[in-house]
Subunit: 319 residues, 2 copies
């Protein structure tokens, strides 16, 4: 497979940490030291419209895709699937559409799913869209997670690689530890804390996380996976042109340099100006990295991240 189009959408409205600070009863310095985030975007349009803007850029006026995969963290609504609404916003009818969901790692699971559809010869032009409005679900009485979340959408177009091209998805890895299931939650929105259940509290519908526990659990597992991947693939850190981590928090992104032993130029770090954009975070960082010419055709790009679950996934592509 080969990624032949990338696009992203960052909403116009910027919320600075200066304007957020009084809402959560903390100082700007507190926000910066805990999350590393100076500003985030707040969308006034819904996820399907955001996703379609990113998708149009990825499609670049080309023909319609033959499969649409929604790879977002939170849906537009329970039914139908968000992919249907993205297709509607793009003005298409009749294109198979479904979701691949692994919270913040949805883009990686969808990219691997798309790769396999291409390898198996099922589809030839797959649009993957990740679009999240995390700011909708903020609980201002939980200052850390409220500071982290931002809105964005990003999309990629995946096609078969030419015979002469080296482009490929070279490696895939994922693990999930339910031990960490309660560390990152939105307990509402399903059958567990159903909206009609009188025991469901307002805060059940909002994002909650235990930052220190996630960081502790993630650091151990992420670096095990990273080292296992390098060993299995048979490459060194220096062979990777760009490491694109899920922009979980400032600390988590910087840990790839501090503990992961990558050079800071190798690590895509956009979190200060976007926040944690849930599932859109990984493809957004990839699309901005491409726009900034941080990698070119033939380069190795390694994507890795953590998601609620707790899950960890990684993907190595030769772009």
């Amino acid at each position: 497979m080969r990624i032949t189009g990338l696009g992203y959408y960052l909403p116009e409205q910027i919320e600075t940490s200066e304007s957020l600070a009084p809402k959560i009863g903390k100082s700007v310095d507190w926000i910066l030291s805990r999350t590393g985030i100076r500003e985030r975007r707040v969308s006034q349009i819904d996820v399907d419209e955001m996703g379609a803007i990113a998708a149009k850029k990825a499609l670049n006026d080309g023909p319609p895709p033959d499969l649409i995969l929604n790879a977002s963290g939170v849906p537009k609504q329970t039914l139908p699937d968000t992919s249907t609404f993205i297709q509607a916003q793009l003005g298409y009818e009749g294109i198979p559409s479904f979701s691949v969901h692994a919270t913040c790692l949805s883009f990686l699971t969808a990219l691997k799913t798309a790769n396999n559809f291409i390898v198996c010869g099922d589809y030839k032009r797959i649009l993957i869209v990740s679009s999240d409005r995390g700011t909708c679900g903020r609980n201002f009485s939980e200052p850390e997670s409220s500071s982290l979340l931002g809105d964005a959408a990003a999309a990629v177009l995946v096609e078969p690689a030419n015979e002469s091209s080296e482009s490929a998805l070279l490696h895939w890895n994922m693990k999930t530890w339910p031990e960490g299931a309660t560390y990152t939650e939105v307990r509402g929105g399903g059958t567990n804390k159903h909206p009609q259940d009188p025991n469901t509290k307002d805060t059940d519908n909002l994002f909650t996380m235990n930052g220190p526990m996630i960081y502790k659990m993630a650091r151990k597992h992420v670096y095990t996976m990273l080292n296992d991947d390098l060993k299995t693939i048979g490459i060194n850190r220096k062979d990777i042109t760009l490491l694109v981590p899920h922009q979980a928090s400032g600390l988590a992104v910087k840990a790839y340099v501090k503990y992961g032993k990558f050079n800071s130029e190798q690590v895509m770090d956009i979190i200060a100006y976007t926040g944690n954009c849930v599932a859109a975070s990984l493809p957004l960082a990839l699309a901005i990295g491409f726009e900034e010419s941080r990698f070119k055709r033939g380069d190795l790009v390694y994507l890795i991240g953590t998601g609620a679950g707790l899950s960890i996934a990684s993907t190595l592509i030769r772009f």
Copy 2:
């Protein structure tokens, strides 16, 4: 690929149409004539626990799977993914887990995804679990959909086919028409009608459908897909041992005989005693068909159905 294990769970509690009728202000005859459903199950345990019961039967005391795919219609909660909770109920740690979501067609999209993971050599023992508690989301002031929904879980285990085996996923087809997006909805549960939005009404969190419009749209597209599939694959109706349709409604299932020109013995029809079990409906009908020896190794089994979207998907397997 080869399906090597099947399991299902039907909750003990039976709700007859006699007991439902007064709640929705209709007669039993009305329910039977509109939906064909005599009784449905109502679960007292949540989707992850239901799914794990079905999964244990599919796993049949064998080793753990190397991938868990949740293929349900409605999640346990917004985050983390339902697959994490199913893994927790099964007592595992470290197994990659994510969801494939296409409302009532989630099982078919997950089966195709699992097939491709096997063909590409990524995994060798994939557990697919569909578990839905549609009765949680019933709106008793909408009598038709309230009569339709029932609770169930079903699971299959997918492994590589032996060299000597004919087992395979032979054909896959899916189409989505956003034109039908408003015909089947739960508008809440996401960013569209967020629980914190003061404009979100209680009914936005409940299932709503326009039965006649779905039936009209589905009938046209289902039979086009069915005929296209038979032509593309190069088989006749008589070559199919069992047609397993999504148990959408009594009318929809019987239409495969009346308009689809299959013999009634060829069509799996369990809806009178299970109701429409959302995404669990298709694997439930498959697992019950297997239990009842309606098909055997080497037989052609054709699965087809409609889902909110409106989506239509079909899969031909040689079991």
